[in-house]
Symmetry: C2
């Protein structure tokens, strides 16, 4: 029997389509990725080609032979420009803000052939600290209303560049979707005196059916009303509205969990294309009691079609509880030690 | 200079990314589609294979040698089931409705190789009348809250079946997105005493920059804050909240405009994958003064990536005014008469 489930936080309905349901195993990818070289002479993100990017905003220096660990540069084809002052125009039904904003690229490693899912946890922590540094810096700019940090992995996730990288876009407006979800969270807090995400986490921890893994500071779970197969959220267990409030210990813990979850997807589903995004409070709402930041990982296993575009409702063909069970069983450590033994 | 534009109706912001902008011509597709046979023995939608679909709900009989013009059948792999009564369950943060609903397939023609963009206008009118018949019937069912009519053309638009078809999904709930847009429209009406869509249409007709074509009863235009290249809306000029209120003359006029707009995309962009969807008021809101139904055509020319998923904001790389100019110039009639002359 199919089931409609409502996302508690966003109020969006999802159809869990059991009549056309697929077992989690059927989502394993069969595409062969071409093997990448660790250095590509024409790649603007490879070491030695630093001159091909706009001047660097931030660099994590390396302690060894490699020239650097992580670099942040302005996107050469930025969606927004930092050269203007944001100015709003309202003319009858037409509302615009000129294109002020910041669009960074975070080059995650000098190694062209590396993937985040297989990096050491400590290296992923470096990248997260870079996110936080830029997030904190840009949050202080009064022209910036909201910051989105995201990664596109693979062509179906919207990237054409192979070299591992993520991005940050800071906008002079708060998106309608973010504003609107804030209103739901605020209303819940006003009605029940609690953060709706904290409540949901408490219930998920009691029920366990959708929890994939837990650590000292974080929980990774499949959403009850997951809009797509294997859509995974990572929540801090401590109430925090903003990613900017994360502690040093929490960053290290998050790095381990994010890396492990990406590795579970990588080994379990054979390197699917995916996006991840960090959803945090807008700067003007730092510290609020009613919102809770999180990381959302969205494997791109299915296509959005006309029903989704025409209704805003999604059809999910993998039952979230089955996806959670599948991911719990992917043993990253033994898969990787077996692979390491095989190549020795 | 990039520009952020706010959709007047939905309040969603879009980044018109002029720094990475493409000319409309750069969106012309270069993929070769394999030629289709007019009859495929294994296709469940081809004539003679009527037994492969669930029992027919509706048929438009043919006047000539072909067995039928249009058939409506339940989707064999329906996302929802008409066999249950909708029952709502609320258990703490988990809200569900069991999977009651209707999922129809509209087989648009017996000809496997046909495409909607190249059909006679009168044939498209038959299909629209079928939509209206099913829409009217299902709107009377008190268990149904909302009906979405949509078409998926091509793999990037989410279809694997070649035979021309569209679909209808009727749900026991109103999606959050639809509910929320209704609230904007209602508030606008309360503030200004007018339908926000009627106002927007009046302004677009005065300005003309984004209007692609007009007819006695309809207007086709590129949205000012278009979320994606060539995203086109067709609005009735007369105020109507529901597709169910459309008159016989209006259906014929809409068929001509929809067919012409699809042909402009087909000839101008070389048969891009696309979705279209009919956005109409939920049954409980038929007749309201503040909402206006429309058809939305969404060519699938770009990929949604992490920024869009993480913020709900879209980046559009084709300026809507340039897209409108490009589409105005595609001369469907002379393209088709030249093609007809060449094959004679």
């Amino acid at each position: 029997m199919p089931e409609l489930r409502q996302n508690f936080a966003t109020k969006e309905w999802v159809i869990i389509a059991t009549e056309r349901a697929r077992r989690p195993e059927q989502m394993v990818q069969h595409r062969e990725r071409k093997p990448l070289a660790p250095f590509v002479a024409s790649c603007p993100f490879c070491p030695g080609n630093e001159g091909l990017t706009p001047p660097e905003v931030l660099r994590v220096p390396a302690s060894t032979a490699v020239p650097w660990h992580v670099r942040v540069v302005p996107n050469k084809f930025a969606a927004l420009s930092r050269e203007v002052e944001p100015t709003r125009t309202v003319h009858r039904s037409r509302r615009t803000v000129n294109g002020f904003g910041v669009h960074d690229v975070v080059i995650e490693t000098p190694d062209h052939a590396q993937v985040l899912a297989l990096m050491p946890d400590s290296y992923v922590a470096e990248i997260l600290r870079v996110y936080k540094t830029r997030y904190d810096e840009l949050s202080l700019d009064p022209r910036i209303a909201h910051i989105t940090i995201f990664k596109n992995h693979g062509a179906d996730a919207g990237t054409s560049l192979e070299h591992p990288h993520s991005q940050l876009i800071a906008t002079p407006v708060i998106s309608h979707q973010v504003r609107e979800r804030f209103q739901h969270a605020l209303r819940h807090h006003d009605d029940f005196g609690e953060c709706m995400f904290c409540q949901m986490l408490e219930e998920e921890m009691e029920e366990q059916a959708r929890v994939v893994m837990t650590s000292e500071h974080f929980v990774a779970l499949e959403l009850f009303a997951s809009p797509a197969p294997f859509c995974t959220h990572i929540y801090p267990r401590r109430h925090m509205a903003s990613f900017g409030d994360v502690s040093a210990a929490e960053i290290n813990d998050l790095a381990r969990m994010l890396r492990t979850m990406l590795a579970k997807l990588y080994h379990g589903l054979k390197d699917p294309d995916f996006n991840f995004t960090l959803r945090s409070a807008p700067a003007e709402n730092f510290g609020v009691k009613y919102f809770h930041w999180y990381v959302s990982i969205i494997p791109r296993l299915t296509r959005v079609a006309g029903f989704e575009l025409g209704s805003g409702m999604f059809i999910n063909t993998v039952v979230p509880e089955a996806a959670a069970e599948f991911l719990r069983k992917v043993d990253v450590e033994s898969t990787e030690s077996a692979a390491a033994a095989a190549t020795q």
